[in-house]
Symmetry: C2
Subunit: 417 residues, 2 copies
């Protein structure tokens, strides 16, 4: 029933669709003969069109009822477009500077129209591969994560509102199940979809599949992912879901959004920065070329966490008692509030490290790899980069409880050779 | 709309209600003039009628749109009857020997008809006050908890089914909010509804309200209660929700049911046994009278946990890979399975101790006390019993991470004077 009025757009159908909707047509201006249309979906799942007109522009994203990069043999619910739009709107309200505005949503068509993030916006991952410094990245991402995670948690909201949100996003279960499989399960078993640089990493992949301690840790993280409704997550916050310029940072593509553990978002971002760090040697055209850039990445990892923690706590300080978690009359002294905040942040920190590790691992031995490493043409170099990243991630997964601040984590990254 | 056809039953209306429903009338047999009706609701919330006829009997429970013991000034959703019935049916399917059969449910009337647990069934709490030994209690309660908790968790089910259940029971939020307030919040603040044996326990109650470490621990437990969807809980599993004979153990009244942390059920039962233990000296009519009984309670605490753990793990062993949590191909050796089970059980154990402590505390300094202690007429004696229980509970709340087996906990209970 929901799908009955769905049809997949192509350029011609797209023009008809927009022509029929004055709000959209007027945003572009002129007549349809003057519109430029480009399909840019580089993602694995969806159609993405850019529309440019004499007066304005927008991006139109449509979910398809199957996994785009695989084909119709792998069906996937188009309801994800509804959840993506709902998160874009909710996170956009909370962090308006870091989420593209939604102009239009068509539920049966699984179609979202949003601000076009015009050039020089590029996908952060591509900027990192080029070695471009983004001086405001840590500041912006910590803003985005602190605001969206704090304000969708029980630190800010009643349990009434929270359980409503949990119920609503429980329906995005198909997307969660994909995550469960590709991040928390398949890298730790023999699976046809797994791949890695072979034969170089054969032994590394095998040792992971035989690592009982790693499997116990991934089970704990999977349980948190499946059972812990801490905040409304983006839930796919890797560096391919962030578009940047020197002055702008925009989070797109929250189609996996659901109520989960905060560390899953923080860890996605930090883990993907770490992957980028380990890939840099593979991109250097002469020895030492990327050393400065690697230091900038490490600095960004450190600053992101530190600023995230500071901003999150500042929001908490400004909002004591507004959520149901910590009632003001109970948490009524500076001493107990400090202790509460330390305990809360240290759990997010631990979770973030665990999820960062899990996300790194799956990008090296699982189904979906990252361009940061894939684009290293020299296979020996690539394997070396990948092995370092994998070794660090395995270590972090198992030993993260030994780390109590981000500086120690950065030292550990630097010590991997 | 839902409430439009609701009306509160009295004996006359009840007869009409049953007469109009052949299935119910035939269960009683004879004609309505031969039926005996007794209202027995000793609870705080609902109407409970026993109906006896020449041929058979049943209990009819109706939820009222307010808290019965307070009055219409404290409204409460009658939807709780729907959740109670849903849990009775689901848990009844999983542990048919320990849950009364549901014969009939009328949603708009918030009315459940179920098996009458005939005499000599009595409420366990009352049996404990009398000093009655129930030799099968640990065996039965460990059966009930192991089966219901295991089979409604991700150890047994897909995340698809699990998130559906979570969404459904998220609507029982009003009941969860009551728990949040009376267990996790009010005992730790000044609240008009709090009471305790005064002035005897004034300083004890005050020291709790000033105990920062206790407040940090209760915050962690509250977060688990609010955010962790581990299994479909009974969620009010104190000794007043269990009816017993020497050979039968029946869990009634799961109107607070929702997806929460397993330790909340296990801890409710163990904590209420511990309250009973500490109350026994107040019921002894001569010195030493209850010493043997106290040992039986401690033995029951120990056996309940040990049997619960053993049965839970047996279910797990029989069902490796049937749920989405631990995929068989990942957890593929005895070594990793053992490690996984140890980690999982030790979290339930820790949670159970924490929730047990929280439930003991709230029964001594919060709004709703227990007959075990309330019925001790000598106020000095009562205060002594209550202080011991409170001291143990405070200790357990804060130091539970030091305990790794139930024997240590039992020793700690015995060492309190
Ligand atoms: N609002 C936007 N402005 C500019 N480009 C965008 C926008 N949204 C998506 N894109 C481009 O389309 C690509 C795919 O979009 P994305 O939302 O990530 O789709 P998918 O879910 O298929 O990964 C992005 O990597 C980016 O290059
Ligand atoms: N199925 C039953 N068989 C016999 N007695 C019952 C049954 N259900 C409830 N009762 C009696 O009614 C009392 C209140 O029932 P309960 O379900 O606990 O209601 P409440 O939710 O108001 O606490 C119980 O303590 C018990 O004495
Ligand atoms: Mg994408
Ligand atoms: Mg996507
Ligand atoms: Mg009751
Ligand atoms: Mg009840
Ligand atoms: Mg199996």
């Amino acid at each position: 029933a929901l799908h009955s009025s769905f049809y997949q757009l192509d350029e011609a159908l797209l023009v008809d669709y927009v022509k029929a909707r004055p709000n959209l047509a007027q945003r572009l201006g002129g007549t349809h003969t003057e519109w430029k249309i480009k399909e840019v979906g580089d993602g694995n799942l969806n159609l993405v069109f850019i529309l440019l007109g004499p007066k304005g522009s927008f991006v139109l994203k449509q979910a398809l009822p199957y996994v785009r990069c695989v084909g119709e043999s792998w069906p996937m619910t188009i309801e994800r477009a509804y959840f993506e739009t709902t998160v874009l709107r909710e996170h956009g309200r909370l962090a308006p500077g870091h989420v593209p505005e939604v102009y239009h949503f068509d539920h049966p068509m699984a179609l979202t129209v949003m601000r076009y993030l015009e050039p020089p916006h590029i996908i952060l991952r591509k900027g990192l591969i080029r070695g471009t410094v983004y001086p405001l990245l840590a500041q912006h991402m910590s803003d985005y994560m602190a605001s969206t995670l704090f304000h969708t948690s029980l630190l800010a909201n009643s349990t009434l509102k929270h359980r409503e949100g949990v119920a609503q996003f429980s329906r995005n279960v198909e997307m969660c199940r994909l995550t469960e499989e590709v991040i928390f399960t398949n890298p730790y078993r023999v699976a046809a979809s797994n791949r890695w640089t072979s034969p170089h990493l054969d032994a590394d992949a095998q040792s992971l599949r035989e690592d009982s301690r790693a499997k116990i840790e991934i089970a704990g993280l999977k349980a948190k992912f499946c059972e812990r409704s801490q905040a409304l997550l983006h839930a796919d916050l890797h560096t391919g879901s962030i578009m940047v310029t020197q002055t702008s940072t925009q989070c797109i593509d929250p189609e996996f959004g659901f109520y989960g553990p905060m560390g899953f978002d923080v860890g996605a971002f930090l883990g993907n920065l770490a992957l980028s760090f380990f890939s840099q040697d593979g991109h250097a055209t002469f020895e030492g070329e990327r050393e400065g850039y690697k230091l900038w990445i490490l600095k960004t990892i450190g600053e992101t966490w530190q600023l995230f923690e500071r901003k999150f706590l500042a929001l908490w300080d400004q909002n004591w008692g507004s959520g149901d978690a910590y009632v003001e009359e109970v948490y009524n002294s500076k001493e107990v509030r400090d202790l509460a905040q330390i305990a809360y942040m240290s759990e997010i920190f631990q979770d973030s490290l665990g999820f960062a590790a899990a996300k790194m691992i799956r990008r090296i031995v699982g189904i979906a790899h990252v361009e940061d490493l894939e684009s290293i043409e020299d296979v020996e170099k690539r394997a070396t980069c990948e092995r370092r990243a994998l070794n660090f991630a395995k270590h972090l997964l198992k030993e993260r409880s030994q780390y109590s601040d981000i500086g120690q984590v950065i030292s550990a990254i630097q010590s991997i050779h």
